[in-house]
Subunit: 224 residues, 2 copies
């Protein structure tokens, strides 16, 4: 019996394109984030705050993944930066070939930081490399502190976790202590940022971390 492992083929094809995206972006000295999180965790809000506070210092471009709408891209466009909308027509995650197309439409000479906002999904997004430097997972305190245990793969693959909606912490049973413990058990060196987009708290720390990563990448790729 011949057996075809469809998923393996799909992932191998995806990874090839992801590597070529990574090479292209690296050659331009661009640092790229794959931003993932549950629906409503606050991915677009985090981006809005980041852009507001850092667009004078960092040249940011955004690729917005969404099933059907352009709502999020419209929000980002209002911040006055370049944004490309990708509609997956119902698919549950972005894939590297979609990013390859989007990159072709961006003016890469004018970008230090490319943020790819993935579809709201903690499962499927974990399997598809887009060519990013790092994954950042956004977790809002209203989702509960058990999420790293329940959806471990995406957290394991993330360089950092942004804990959002900290302003609502007192109204939940979310345990920050448990979260740190569980995340560190999954991946020892993971960075954790406590953020409130509503109160504009913690954005600077997250942005400073990104600035450092951008600088390191530029140096490694021979940019002054």
């Amino acid at each position: 019996m011949k057996q075809i492992d469809v998923m393996k083929d799909i992932l191998a094809d995806n990874n090839k394109i992801a590597d070529s995206n990574r090479k292209l972006l690296g050659n331009k000295g661009i640092f790229t984030i794959n931003l993932v999180g549950s629906p409503g965790a606050g991915k677009t809000s985090l981006l809005e705050e980041l852009i507001k506070k850092f667009k004078g210092e960092i040249k940011i471009a955004v690729i917005e993944g969404d099933l059907y709408t352009t709502n999020d891209a419209q929000r980002i466009e209002q911040e006055g930066i370049e944004v490309i909308q990708l509609n997956t027509k119902g698919a549950c995650h972005l894939e590297a070939n979609m990013i390859a197309e989007a990159i072709a439409d961006l003016n890469l000479e004018e970008v230090d930081l490319l943020v790819i906002e993935n579809v709201g999904n903690l499962v499927c997004t974990a399997s598809f490399d887009l060519g990013e430097d790092i994954k950042i997972t956004l977790l809002s305190v209203t989702e509960g502190s058990d999420k790293p245990i329940k959806y471990p793969i995406i957290f394991q693959k993330s360089a950092g976790v942004v804990v959002n909606k900290m302003d609502l912490l007192e109204h939940t049973n979310f345990s920050i202590k448990q979260l740190y413990q569980d995340l560190r058990n999954l991946t020892e060196n993971i960075k954790i940022f406590e953020v409130s987009c509503v109160k504009e708290e913690g954005i600077l720390e997250f942005g400073d971390y990104l600035k450092e990563r951008i600088k390191t990448k530029k140096l490694a790729n021979g940019f002054a």
Copy 2:
């Protein structure tokens, strides 16, 4: 060139098994819900409250879908009802064949209402019929009122939406008015329940609706 539409085959196979599940459950007079929602929307909490308030009146059994852990099933088991844990080992949704296996392990003579708690995911869960009578989507107000527009398929396929975490409404920019409008545009007769599991509000209305649906199904299937 021969082209194989893998997804179509997978769904066709799934639907056959789903129909057989539905027939089997119907013959036993069991009303079945496929409960979906984002990670952390409060699916298990809603079930806990429903069981607490209705286990004297309705014989409830639960199938818990989760990637790896048995956390949610343990919570449900504490309520003293029969629960089967399904671990998808990383897969993003339940499929009908998993339910067929779980049903085989349940004592169906002792069940009026079977609740299948799906994996936390608003996208992939929409494509897979499990053999349920209705889908109920749980949406927490902290996720934002734009979710039906951004993830329309799952809401379109739902008989009802439970709007959870109403106790946190005042701390969010969630628009109940917009939600009702968007949901009614998607599917005219959708039922909407405003719930706070923390404050134990709105559970009775939701449970009464289920009682009515259970009764109607039993009558239609020749149960007195």
